[in-house]
Symmetry: C2
Subunit: 342 residues, 2 copies
């Protein structure tokens, strides 16, 4: 869905020199090279359309944040490499499968700065290659023999689908409650972050308390990322974002900045929101007005404050682990998730 | 895809009083009641669109032939019930997920005699509910703790997707070789039959030779069913089929009866096939002519002869098991697959 695309744009920012986040990326580089090898090897098929389509999306980048969580969680627990690389590749395949299906569902034009796969190979191929990658993910997980990691990622896959359907049925609903909004982003974004970290821990033989802590870290990190991203869609600058500001607005998507602004609106503004979002009748100048209303209502700040809360909770969850380079790396990632205010 | 829909129509015939097949169905009835309960319980979700859409398809029937194979294989090995019911429900969920995605891919109008789900709830919901059911299948499998059954069904899911993509890229190809045709139907149909039987055996603690025999049985049974179905599309009568004869032709699908007829055609007929299938320019009378050419070329008989070969191979594969009601039931199912000539 849309927010997931935003998130990929946000992930792209991580590639920039960014101090401490750079350190985590450097720390994880050897493991991530192994993950990349697995990804390339396992997206192969005798049916040539499959690797061609998968490569288009996978090699377009995205910072592989979710598999990074898996390998970092395993390293934090103390037993990186090995099965954590396969679990990380499986996590990326699940993510890629959902991106392929989301782009078909949304009729998206762009993904990771490239023309969406379904516009090149057709929606049928995107659906079926998504299915292929999803199945491949489970084949990789089976190879690790870690049944509890399979359980975590099977459940996550199911919860993501539920979140997507929920969003589909409520996308343009101005009366969406904040609780339902949080339910949607928890299911469609935070669940895979949580599962990626937890599965990495479990694969590394973590104790139950460690696995639960890393799950908690991942869940809160995912919420922080998604909230910051929803804020940046109204508060960011296109050049900085690596995507167009205003995409959520133009798609009429009810994200938190918009819901907060609506809650604080007078009758005249309510008419505006009902036309522009509820009925999706928009003029060229509407995004500028929406942005003014949202900023004026303090909705960007409120959304980023909530993102900061989740980022803090993510860091707190790591406190059961002794200080280490990996813990500091994951903490800095939580800071990074909400530091993109400018 | 199309042939899979035909197959569902063929499966519906199994419900009729048909002597020995009735016996297998009666034998398996207690287990299948347990499978049905699991299916209904596990298609539930707080997101109400999901069970509504899943129910539309699942309760429309289809004879649950694939889960029947799973429970019968477990019983033949001697340890039915238990985990075989969960594996059987998982098999049906995988099948249902592929049906949902296939209907979107093909733009199909009808499924199991009802309006296709994507025409009621929209293609996006069909794609996402398919993903939900696929994930649910893996959750069910994880619950059994039988990692080798997971491996078998994860691989089958991947092979099915590969077969679907292969078919998508070769659907209207008059020069499709018989080898490629068999490769396609092996992947998209026979693989799940094989995996359903093998997983049931493995879940029941089968020896390697027993599991391999049941896989071989399932694979050959699936090929026999699909070939008979492709023949019936030209040789059958609409009322008997429970679907319209000629669907494959109207979709321009290169199935074996057509490929055999083309191979035996003179230059004038080749022009006809190139127009009607290659370019899909069809007139109302074309199906009648195609049927005459195909019957005249002996292509129906040749296709059914090949189906009979596979049916025989399926029965031979069962010979390692001592005589029992379950073995006889599975043998009669193989006979049934190709006995629908009239």
């Amino acid at each position: 869905m849309k927010e997931r695309r935003d998130l990929d744009a946000a992930e792209a920012v991580i590639a920039r020199p960014a101090g401490s986040v750079e350190r985590l990326i450097a720390l994880a580089a050897p493991d991530m090279a192994g993950v990349d090898e697995l990804i390339v090897a396992r997206m192969q098929s005798q049916v040539s359309v499959i690797p061609a389509l998968a490569e288009h999306l996978i090699e377009a980048g995205g910072k592989r944040l979710r598999p990074l969580l898996t390998v970092a969680a395993a390293r934090l627990v103390g037993a990186g490499g090995g099965s954590s690389l396969k679990l990380a590749a499986a996590v990326e395949f699940i993510h890629t499968a959902t991106l392929l299906h989301d782009d078909v569902v949304d009729g998206s034009q762009l993904r990771r700065g490239k023309v969406a796969a379904h516009l090149i190979w057709g929606a049928p191929s995107s659906v079926l290659v998504g299915d292929f990658l999803f199945a491949r993910a489970f084949e990789l997980m089976v190879e690790t023999g870690v049944l509890s990691a399979l359980e975590i990622l099977a459940r996550a896959s199911r919860v993501i689908a539920e979140g997507e359907v929920l969003q589909l049925t409520r996308a343009h609903d101005l009366n969406l409650s904040q609780a339902t909004y949080l339910e949607i982003i928890t299911a469609k974004t935070a669940e895979l972050f949580a599962a990626a970290a937890e599965a990495g821990a479990i694969g590394a033989g973590a104790e139950a308390s460690q696995a639960a802590a890393l799950r908690e870290y991942g869940r809160n990190l995912g919420l922080a990322f998604q909230l910051a991203d929803d804020a940046l869609d109204y508060g960011g600058v296109t050049e900085t974002l690596g995507k167009n500001a205003g995409d959520d607005f133009r798609e009429g998507k009810a994200t938190l900045p918009l819901l907060l602004a609506i809650a604080r609106s007078g009758p005249r503004e309510v008419d505006f929101w009902e036309r522009a979002i509820g009925r999706k009748e928009q003029t060229n100048d509407d995004f500028r007005r929406a942005r003014e209303l949202i900023i004026g209502a303090g909705a960007i700040e409120a959304t980023l404050d909530l993102a900061s809360d989740y980022s803090d909770r993510a860091k707190v969850a790591l406190k059961i682990f002794p200080d280490s380079e990996w813990r500091r790396g994951l903490e800095s990632l939580a800071d990074f998730a909400v530091s993109r205010r400018a």
